[in-house]
């Protein structure tokens, strides 16, 4: 009956998502985005009050008021969108994937009703070396340092026939000794801190570390726990951050690729 299963599988539809529709697309991410032309001081204060984490903040500096959105702390609960009356919407594009910790944070000038534009951070030396060394063939060792398993569920989805990350020459490997990149999820628990450090030490240089999910980027809702050390960068150095709770497969792929910056994903 093996032949029957194979025959049945061969008849299944082609579902591979084309590259043009893959990157940056934020469907299902639940991440918010701001419509700057609708932004007012009252709305900004309302959405900040609605945020149960500290992802949204008001920053007052030299007479200007800014609305700050840190994707690294956002769990996508949607309360700001409910409170924002159209000023905040579910993002159609998420470009802040695989970026520096600083670039996870966006800022809008409320009086000027415009986003404060940041420079795209320079590529890290390790990323340039790996790009020169291996081209697009990237071996990833995934480490769960204390995650709820939500991020793992989405990382596993990268291998399904819709996303098929092997088409880009990206593979998941079993040993850190075979890896170019550690893809680390979770708030790092006390009980996983030593194992994460050991795995990191086993990865040959040059290497990259990517922190995944709200917990991996900022500690998320678990950051204040007695059993948690903190975000991934509290234990090992991190080159790129992928926000989301959990990040969708599209966000993960965008982030993994963006760390190497083979082409510019503009924001």
């Amino acid at each position: 009956m093996i032949g029957d299963a194979v025959a049945r599988s061969l008849r299944s539809p082609q579902v591979l998502i084309s590259i043009g529709k893959l990157f940056v697309n934020a469907a299902g991410s639940r991440m918010p985005d701001v419509q700057p032309d609708l932004l007012t001081d009252a709305v900004a204060r309302r959405v900040v009050a609605a945020c149960p984490t500290s992802a949204l903040k008001i920053d007052e500096d030299a007479g200007r008021t800014h609305l700050i959105l840190n994707y690294g702390e956002c769990t996508g609960c949607g309360r700001c969108i409910a409170a924002g009356g159209g000023t905040l919407r579910y993002a159609e594009k998420v470009t802040r994937c695989g970026v520096s910790k600083q670039a996870l944070i966006r800022s809008w000038d409320i009086q000027g009703r415009a986003e404060v534009v940041q420079d795209e951070p320079a590529l890290s030396q390790a990323a340039e070396q790996i790009r020169a060394l291996v081209g697009r063939a990237l071996n990833i060792r995934q480490v769960d340092a204390g995650s709820c398993n939500g991020c793992e569920a989405e990382i596993v989805a990268l291998t399904n026939p819709y996303y098929d990350l092997e088409r880009f020459g990206i593979h998941f490997v079993a040993s850190p000794k075979h890896a170019d990149m550690l893809l680390v999820t979770g708030p790092v628990t006390r009980n996983m801190a030593a194992a994460l450090k050991n795995a990191y030490d086993a990865v040959p240089s040059p290497n990259l570390v990517v922190a995944v999910g709200a917990c991996g980027c900022s500690g998320g809702i678990f950051g204040r726990s007695h059993a948690v050390v903190g975000p991934v960068d509290a234990v090992i150095p991190v080159d790129g951050y992928i926000p989301g709770c959990p990040p969708t497969p599209r966000m993960l792929l965008t982030g993994i690729v963006q760390v190497l910056r083979p082409f510019s994903l503009r924001w």
Binding site: I2, A5, N149, T189, N191, A227
Partner: protein, 489 residues
């Protein structure tokens, strides 16, 4: 569902008597403190398979262990000691459970200040198996695949496993403590992050506990949408598990096939509910998303189509001789051991123990419908695969029936933001019986205990493994598919 809350010393011995009876099942043991910092132990027991009964008593000094009466109590009592410093006299294995050697012995986070705990350097002692040719195989905490962390210590002679010791709680995040002082409307986010692939079950169990505490009637339409989410989550889990079982015997074609079907359902969720795993949908008082009548038809067709494809592939899988050879009589969990360890969920039903919260302790929409509970007796990998295949079909049926008669009306009612009460709630998650017990004071959670099916079932895995070859471990482990984070919390 009946909950009694008498508070006397006598209730503890009554609980131990009750646990020794044939018609009872241990559901959970956990601790709490009252407003005067007095510690309590709570025994949650299922009587006659139809009624949850809770017996609670204050604790001064040590208490007699329930583990000699019912082995299922072992991990609960170790957790009780780690969290509350309550000694259980006569416990056969009083080693720390939640905390590893980095944690000082005398810090109990539910009663002590745990904000700045120093790092300790203790040692953990595995049970040693002695004899000619016995070797130990350590596996984990980091595993070869994209899986959660945990440690398995095998003692083997040749390929045959003589003993398997689990060492878990690598993902312990102090979650129950994090609930403390969180407003009732916010804490649902913590519940959603206990076990990421069962997040909707956790969210609904938490929300129902709040609604029970404040005697809130959730609108029928919200109850129906919750049922759809719970059954869809079960389908996703079961379809993925059957595919992964095929992957573990090297049959990769059905593994890729089922991964596609699972993704189809996740994308249907995205399209109609804006979320892949149903996060942010359940809130105390109802749900945040509704379906239009046009959407119900299309959503139902997508679910039905995926389920039909899965059923056809499942039939081919079960008729494949190499699959039969690997699944049959592998990793047998006997009914007797399953009963002693109070195993729940698909693993129980595959070992002849027909437990299902949806039928036995129904809540919400489940009160109005009949749920078929499939049951097998062999307790092997094949039986656990069959349970998942059968239940996927049943969940599809339940979703379609619910979509057909979706009640009219709103999907959300307000919840009081202040108030004080204690309450319990149960849900049949894809992995089995999931319970939340909450204590609310002035609109904030002061204690939340989570009885997770994985915490209950993990101790059964080593016993199903005995006498099997170590190469079958991934398959046997996957056939239980327990959550690490859900267990470790």
């Amino acid at each position: 569902m009946t909950v009694t809350l008498p508070n006397s010393e006598a209730d503890r011995s009554r609980a131990l008597d009750l646990l020794g009876a044939a018609n009872t099942r241990l559901v959970s043991i956990f601790g709490s403190t009252d407003d005067n910092h007095v510690r309590y132990v709570h025994y949650l027991i299922d009587v006659n398979g139809r009624e949850y009964r809770m017996l609670s008593s204050p604790v001064t000094g040590s208490i007699p262990s329930a583990t000699p009466i019912v082995p299922a109590a072992a991990w609960y009592e170790r957790e009780l000691h780690d969290q509350y410093g309550i000694e259980c006299e006569g416990h056969p294995d009083p080693r720390p459970l939640l905390f590893h050697e980095n944690w000082p012995e005398n810090v109990h986070p539910m009663i002590d200040d745990a904000s700045h705990v120093p790092w300790a350097e203790g040692q953990y002692h595995f049970l040693r198996v002695h004899g000619d040719g016995v070797c130990e195989v350590p596996v984990g905490p980091i595993h070869a695949g994209i899986i959660e962390p945990g440690h398995f210590r095998f003692s083997v002679v040749g390929d045959t496993v003589l003993h398997l010791e689990l060492r878990h709680f690598y993902t312990h995040k102090g979650t129950e403590k994090l609930f403390e002082n969180t407003p009732v409307m916010d804490a649902v986010m913590i519940a959603e992050s206990v076990s990421g692939d069962n997040c909707f079950s956790h969210a609904v169990a938490y929300c129902q506990a709040i609604e029970n505490a404040f005697a809130i009637s959730v609108p029928p339409r919200a109850q129906a949408i919750r049922l759809i989410g719970l059954e869809l989550e079960r389908m996703l889990a079961h379809i993925a598990d059957v595919g992964a079982l095929c992957g573990d015997v090297g049959f990769t074609v059905p593994a890729a096939y089922t991964a596609r079907l699972k993704e189809t359902l996740l994308q249907a969720s995205t399209r109609f509910f804006g979320t892949r795993f149903w996060r942010g949908i359940a809130v105390p008082g109802g749900v945040t998303r509704d379906l239009s009548s046009a959407e119900t038809g299309e959503f139902g067709r997508m679910v039905t189509a995926a389920a039909r494809e899965f059923a056809q592939m499942a039939r081919l899988i079960l008729h494949t001789s190499s699959v039969q050879n690997r699944f049959e009589s592998t990793g047998i969990l006997t009914a007797e051991i399953a009963k002693q360890l109070a195993v729940v969920g698909p693993a129980a039903r595959a070992s002849g123990i027909g437990l299902d919260v949806r039928r036995d302790h129904p809540t919400g929409r489940y009160r109005d419908i009949n749920v078929d509970v499939p049951q097998y007796t062999h307790g092997d990998v094949l039986a656990r695969a069959r349970i998942r295949i059968d239940e996927t079909a049943i969940s599809t049926h339940l979703i379609n029936e619910t979509l057909k008669e979706l009640p009219a009306g709103s999907v959300l009612v307000p919840v009081p933001l202040s108030g004080s009460a204690d309450a319990l709630s149960a849900v049949e998650s894809p992995r089995g019986e999931l319970l939340y017990w909450v204590r609310i004071r002035d609109g904030k959670i002061t204690r939340c205990h989570i009885k997770s099916p994985s915490f209950q079932n993990w101790p059964a895995l080593p016993l199903a493994m005995l006498g099997n070859i170590i190469a079958d471990f991934p398959l046997i482990n996957k056939s239980f598919n327990l959550s690490y984070s859900g267990c470790d919390r």
